[in-house]
Symmetry: C2
Subunit: 210 residues, 2 copies
């Protein structure tokens, strides 16, 4: 069975290594807007903040650069990347829809109870976030829900590209103020999925992504 790089984050398990914890923490901070776009991140500063050495922080910088959040310059460190412009944003959304559609159509027949359970718990976490009403957390859970579907449908080959696209989008996450509606929309994705109704799932997903 293929291995999921971010399974710890996705399944909300305690990350095994310091590197994973640091990476997750910095990613969350980036999505929460704690770091200003264009600003530089210092290895030493973050290392001391987390109480670890520079090694894992370096690893996290490399990974987050590849995920699209940070820009890396040799001997000069990393800077926070800016969100995409509206034109690219529209295009990225279109590609995202295609990828999710492709993976769902292909993977729905092979869904297992276990993988569906992971999707369901992702939905639960989204609900908790919506109840709390904290926008940045909702954004995170939103993406994680979609990610859990891709994983459940065996879309490992697409996951990397999909994450690249989503990471940039997340930096300008905007949604209805109506958080209950946000949850309902995703619930209406899960329902047909759990019935292995690929066509309806795709329709709900395409309507959701915008």
């Amino acid at each position: 069975m293929p291995f999921q790089i971010y399974s710890d984050r996705l399944m909300r398990m305690q990350p095994k290594t310091v590197r994973e914890q640091v990476t997750n923490q910095i990613r969350d901070d980036l999505l929460s807007g704690r770091f200003e776009a264009g600003s530089m991140l210092r290895e030493i500063e973050l290392a001391s903040r987390f109480g670890v050495s520079r090694g894992p922080v370096r690893d996290a910088f490399i990974q987050l650069s590849n995920e699209g959040y940070l820009a890396y310059q040799a001997n000069r460190g990393v800077t926070v990347r800016r969100p995409p412009n509206p034109d690219d944003r529209r295009f990225i959304t279109s590609v995202r829809k295609q990828i999710e559609t492709h993976v769902i159509l292909k993977g729905t027949p092979h869904l297992t109870d276990n993988s569906l359970k992971n999707v369901e718990s992702a939905l639960d976490r989204l609900k908790v976030a919506c109840d709390e009403g904290k926008a940045t957390t909702i954004a995170l859970r939103d993406v994680e829900f979609h990610e859990s579907i891709l994983v459940a449908c065996g879309g490992d080959d697409m996951l990397g590209a999909w994450r690249q696209l989503c990471s940039r989008m997340l930096l300008t996450y905007t949604r209805h103020q109506d958080y209950a509606h946000t949850y309902r929309e995703h619930f209406e994705i899960f329902t047909p999925l759990s019935n292995k109704d690929a066509q309806s799932t795709v329709e709900a997903i395409v309507a959701n992504i915008q």
Copy 2:
């Protein structure tokens, strides 16, 4: 001006850091099929082969995992990923066409002489590879040519996702035996591009990607 992570590889400059050299070397080896799909790569082994410490090799593993070549498991190291199945392959090709089309249509008007020169030298290197007739090198130069176009057209926001898609495709690069034809096809992409004829460039690109 945004920074290009792989510019050293793209411009065929001497990589500045050991990490970049190691990353490039391992990537080339992967594309040459030196490492069998599914096999494990050992930090110590590669470090001693390159005559460096494990640090840069670790960094390279993280990066190549994020690029889609390797699969990473905590405390267990990395394995070489398998190429995508035909179904996914077709889909990936379709998305690749869309991305390149989008970036070219948007970026052609803003092309500079300098950026065009980078594309031209990428084309030159492809020609050298075609003359030599070594398939793996041609595959590499082929992708680098397309990448240089994306960079020239300012497609930084798409580059990460595009690379994710291409990296997997490269693991099963197959092309005409007629290497001269391969070069000519790419020459016919460059010509309209250098004239800032976006429409013809896109047509040539779409015909080329398969």
